[in-house]
């Protein structure tokens, strides 16, 4: 499924390496592409997409599997990277669409294990000296330059498709929030909820039916015109969501990016059973889509959601 493009890429890399003999630095130009290469489709004329994926809670493997199917069925090429520190105007230059599928946090000083729903524990749990264990400490990865690079990329006429927990990145970057147009507040654990199309006139939602999905129901704030909202999530059991006390690892999300979410502030507001789950808008000469579903391959491949994703990619790339 990947040979033709891989071969091309390798041929190009082979040109780079001999050309840059004599400097380890030069070799890095080739190396930087080690994590960016096409897996699906023929790229000769088709618009190119770059996916930035993977964070502590979201394994690159399932994201790649899910998106490979999407792009394979669309007949479009897609490149993947997990190297968040490489995001730049230069990295985006060859692309028409940037898919962002990771949150805003990195954990360079380590972490113990997965999140609570896996039943995992901190190493200090139950020990006589829990205070001796340093707390997990998250940092933001996105720099101002990187936020601006994405903003400029879209303003220049390209597309941004932000998926799932990526709306958290707006917590760490005002530029990113400006182009994404919203920010995530959090989500309850994985449980079933209904996704309703609230604007059936948009090219992205044409012929898409409401559906039930078992996923993390993200609650988001949308900053731009409410008519751009496409999807609404609702817990049909009436279960509500209150962000409440932040989990320790969420403290790093505290910077105030325009909406006053303080570092250790608890959000006591009951957000109810309904959430904003998707939107689409124009930004400069470009386009932006956010859809919040995506914690599992099964959710990503929910048939109606697949339709939405296909429509979204086509709309972002201005294909018919």
């Amino acid at each position: 499924m990947k040979e033709p493009e891989s071969m091309q890429r390798r041929a190009v890399l082979q040109q780079i390496v001999p050309a840059s003999v004599g400097g380890a630095i030069a070799i890095q130009s080739g190396a930087s592409l080690g994590d960016v290469s096409s897996t699906v489709g023929n790229s000769n004329h088709a618009p190119r997409t770059l996916v930035l994926m993977c964070d502590r809670y979201h394994n690159q493997d399932y994201i790649r599997v899910a998106l490979n199917r999407l792009f394979s069925e669309l007949g479009l090429p897609v490149d993947y990277t997990t190297n968040y520190y490489e995001l730049s105007s230069k990295l985006l230059a060859p692309y028409k669409l940037f898919i962002a599928f990771r949150d805003e946090l990195i954990w360079p000083s380590g972490y113990s294990s997965g999140p609570a729903e896996e039943g995992s524990r901190q190493p200090q749990d139950g020990m006589e000296n829990p205070g001796k264990f340093p707390p997990e400490k998250a940092e933001y990865w996105m720099t101002d330059d990187q936020g601006k690079a994405v903003k400029d990329f879209v303003a220049d006429g390209n597309g941004l498709y932000s998926m799932h927990n990526n709306a958290f990145v707006s917590r760490s970057s005002a530029d990113y929030r400006a182009v994404l147009g919203g920010v995530a507040l959090g989500h309850p654990p994985v449980r079933p909820f209904k996704v309703r199309v609230t604007n059936k006139e948009h090219p992205i939602t044409r012929d898409v039916h409401d559906f039930i999905v078992q996923d993390e129901q993200y609650f988001a704030q949308y900053d731009l015109d409410p008519k751009n909202l496409l999807l609404q999530g609702e817990n049909l059991d009436g279960l509500t969501y209150k962000p409440g006390r932040r989990q320790p690892e969420e403290n790093a999300r505290g910077t105030n990016v325009g909406q006053g979410q303080g570092a250790n502030e608890t959000i006591e507001q009951e957000l109810g059973p309904m959430s904003i789950s998707g939107w689409a808008h124009e930004y400069g000469k470009g386009r932006v889509v956010f859809t919040s579903i995506g914690h599992t391959v099964e959710a990503m491949w929910q048939p109606e959601y697949m339709k939405i994703q296909k429509n979204a990619v086509r709309w972002l790339l201005r294909m018919n």
Partner: protein
């Protein structure tokens, strides 16, 4: 219609090459976090490492955090890729060390587990769950790794990478062994069985809670550096067999492999060197102080640096 960005990928790459030649590279390749800000120039002449990381059961985020610390403390640069299909002779060419930290499987048809399944959830690996698995490595890729080492470079194979030998004879040839699977995460003792080797210098035996991988080592037993033993006397019953007995998925009735496993080795291969160490399912296992010491020794030995 986005025409402003018609620059093709090929042009982009050529431009990158041109800039590289000019010597004014602003490289995206080098993890900024890995380069001491004060000494970017020191990169010149320093050996380079490429790590292929991440699989279904191992989130590349945790692996990166684990290895970032190792290479930062070694003051060596490291590049990462998760794109297994890119592994090739030309990909490896700029490097002196290839770190492999992923298993032999891909699941192009999907698997229905939560996104974050990565750490501490490895128990649920029954045979049926892997029905849709495919092996990613091609013999050409196995050959590329073999040739890379033969030519004088290093291979550091971590943890689940021992399973790659199940699906590639070339990879097995250079790695020198193969994985038979592991019990769930539980504590075991790691013993240094060869204290004379540069890789184990100054390393004490240690306890770790990890997946105790059971492996077969094909070469001279004197190259074995580490044994692991479950001190509670818990044994491991393997259904997987040596692939020589029936291919990558060779299996049979449970066979008791006892409490003790082969957990690490080091050997020369051609003009190059190979190390395998089995510990590595969590960041805290990767950072166990004695294990971190051992990893540092291993990287230095593989790169033929003074220890």
């Amino acid at each position: 219609m986005g025409n402003a960005k018609k620059t093709s990928r090929r042009h982009f790459l050529r431009n990158a090459a041109a800039i590289a030649v000019a010597g004014a590279v602003e490289s995206g390749a080098l993890p900024a976090s890995q380069v001491p800000a004060a000494s970017p120039g020191k990169l010149n002449g320093r050996p380079r490492t490429l790590a292929l990381v991440g699989d279904y059961a191992h989130n590349c985020d945790a692996i990166r955090v684990g290895l970032d610390r190792l290479f930062k403390e070694l003051e060596l640069p490291i590049d990462y890729t998760t794109n297994y299909y890119d592994l090739s002779k030309s990909l490896l060419e700029p490097y002196q060390l290839f770190v492999c930290f992923r298993d032999n499987y891909i699941f192009p048809n999907g698997r229905n587990f939560p996104a974050n399944r990565s750490q501490g959830a490895a128990a649920a690996s029954g045979g049926g769950a892997y029905a849709a698995a495919e092996h990613w490595i091609t013999e050409e890729q196995g050959q590329a790794v073999k040739d890379f080492v033969t030519a004088g470079n290093g291979l550091y194979s971590f943890h689940s990478s021992c399973f790659i030998s199940r699906s590639s004879e070339n990879y097995r040839d250079v790695q020198g062994g193969v994985g038979l699977n592991h019990p769930p995460l539980r504590p075991f003792k790691v013993r240094v069985v060869n204290k004379e080797h540069p890789v184990t210098q100054g390393v004490e035996d240690f306890m770790v809670a990890d997946e105790q991988h059971y492996t077969i080592y094909d070469k001279d037993p004197k190259n074995i550096l580490l044994h692991s033993e479950n001190l509670d006397g818990l044994t491991f019953e393997a259904t997987l067999r040596d692939p020589k007995e029936g291919g990558p998925e060779a299996s049979g009735p449970p066979r008791n492999l006892g409490t003790t496993s082969i957990s690490g080795w080091a050997h020369e291969f051609g003009s190059g060197r190979v190390v395998f160490t089995a510990i590595g399912h969590t960041i805290h296992a990767m950072w166990e102080p004695e294990y971190l010491k051992l990893q540092k020794n291993a990287v230095k030995w593989l790169l033929k640096m003074p220890s």
